[in-house]
Amino acid sequence: MDGISIEVNAGETFGFLGPNGAGKSTSIKMLCTLASPSSGSAKVAGYDVVNQRNMVRRSIGLVFQDPTLDSYLTAEQNLKFHADLYGMKRSLVSERIQEVLEMVQLWDRKDSKVNTFSGGMRRRLEIARGLMHSPRVLFLDEPTVGLDPQTRSSIWKYITGLHENEDITIFMTTHYMDEAEYCSRIAIVDKGKIVALGTPDELKAGVGKDRVTIEVDNIESAQRVIGKRFSLESSVSEGMLVVSVEGGASFVPRLFSEVDLSIKSVSVARPSLDDVFLSYTGTTIREAENQAPPDMMRTMMAAQARR
């Protein structure tokens, strides 16, 4: 990370967004006292991450990218272990275990060993464990990575519901653009630098242009015709012609009346965070990661569905 300076407000869900390898996990590690910053300083819940490590550790809850549960223990044993590590008042432990397990709907599985749990259940249990000691700041490092779409949306239901039950600040990282929409503010990171910071709506408004995706028989000639007639740059993405234009909805009638193309379908999308990422970094998050994660198609569809 290089020269990052951010402030996260209490009660906020703050998203750290960027491709894999952008330095998100490194930042989380530094904030959670697992790594020391080589220079600069950071405070979590008012405590310095280098000089007041124990106070920081006491104030935070963590859900890691890789599972950190003991799969030989039951769900309840994992939470009890956590309570003892954090020195929680004994009389409160069993009540709190029930509270957090009910929150993630695992109370009926409390006596099952974790190695019988599915990936989504494990992640939910980790979220429950992260909340056990009532942390003031909850760090979520890629909380939904590697989970199927259904589980991802249920995890998000729990995370967004947290503010209703807990007075908590959430700091999370993700490389799923559609998930960043859930955050109250996001910072887009690329190559160790913050390239944009704001609410999802602010960032999208900054891009301004709509995205018009056109499915057409002869892409090359269509590209030429559109360039000539409307003086618009267009690009080809996954067999479709993509045009960025202000007022996308009024561009479509002109497209049909002013040029003669055999258009099969047209869709107009309000700028998505994908476009935001593209406009700030000059590359899509997919290209930035070199390889497309399997569920990128879903991200793509979700981005188009939002208008």
């Binding site: 300076s5 550790r57 549960l69 223990l73 003031r136 503010h163």
Partner: protein
């Protein structure tokens, strides 16, 4: 890296917007503000208890670690009996028993310490590292956990003592258990030191196998420590394990009705240039080595993790 990040927090502010909403639970700080001896010992306790829970859950491990000493006592012990003169007063199974007990404890203790490598590999170590407890608590908890687990293993091996001709005298059993527990502590400390440095389970298994077998064979587990060639005498005297096996054998033989001369032959004790090291001295050596190993392990762990 040059970064400045502030995750601020203003729960103290009475007009915090979120807190005014109905039905919102105010934060309850369950965690005490400073770490005390009580919280540290509680952390040590839970790290230790986790080793016990896992040991209990791992039934196969209990059986396999029992199988090994049984092979030594009943197969090798019985098999080699035909070599000894038929007039021998001492059953070879009885002679091998202390070594087999020690071996069982050694393996259990070292592999229990290997759970540090395991935890690191499967991510659980991070759960402990971000908790507001000292690194020392983690290591001490692991050390005690391995000691207790290996002592349980010793109890299992002690339960078959009669079949090897060792009398079930309560005093002898307690003495043997105490000596086994001490051996367990030192071996766990050794295992922890190894697991702090070695990062993969394969590496850990390889390293400990490579070290344990030679240590075991030169500890006098399978032969008396007297009348050895000079080189082997030196090797056995510098092997710390010899000082743990010898008291066990001395204890077993002191409970057998044997002529003094026979007892001297089978359990001669460890001599330094003719001076016989007393049992208490031997146990002290084992204890000090264990403490030293654990101390080094703690300082290494604090530096690395």
């Amino acid at each position: 890296m040059n970064s400045k990040t502030v995750v601020s927090d203003s729960h103290e502010a009475p007009d915090d917007k979120d807190c005014q909403q109905d039905g919102l639970v105010r934060p309850v700080i369950y965690v005490p503000p400073a770490s005390t001896l009580a919280t540290s010992s509680r952390a040590v306790g839970i790290v230790m208890r986790r080793e016990l829970i896992r040991f209990r859950a791992d039934k196969i491990r209990i059986v396999t670690t029992l199988l090994q000493p049984m092979l030594y006592i009943f197969v090798i012990g019985t098999g080699l009996t035909s070599l000894t003169s038929n007039g021998s007063l001492v059953n070879l199974r009885t002679f091998i028993y202390p070594g087999a007990l020690g071996m069982s404890v050694m393996f259990t203790a070292v592999f229990s310490a290997g759970s540090i490598v395991w935890d690191r590999e499967f991510g659980f170590m991070r759960e402990m590292l971000v908790a507001p407890i000292s690194r020392t608590s983690i290591v001490v908890g692991k050390g005690l956990g391995g000691t207790v687990v290996a002592s349980f293993q010793a109890i299992i091996v002690l339960s078959v003592a009669g079949m090897a001709g060792v009398p079930y005298s309560p005093a002898l059993m307690i003495e043997l258990l105490g000596e086994a527990a001490l051996l367990a502590f030192t071996l766990t400390s050794f295992g922890i030191l190894a697991s702090v440095r070695v990062k993969t389970m394969q590496g850990f298994m390889g390293l400990t196998q490579m070290l344990i077998m030679p240590l075991f064979f030169t500890a006098g587990a399978m032969f008396p420590l007297s009348r050895l060639p000079a080189w082997l005498t030196v090797v056995t005297r510098v092997n710390p394990l010899a000082y743990a096996i010898d008291p066990i054998r001395r204890a077993v033989f002191s409970y057998l009705a044997l002529p003094q001369k026979v007892r001297e032959m089978y359990a001669p004790g460890i001599t330094w240039d003719g001076w016989k090291v007393p049992t208490i001295g031997e146990l002290l050596i084992v204890l000090l080595i264990g403490i030293a190993l654990l101390g080094v392990a703690i300082s290494q762990f604090r530096n690395i993790e």
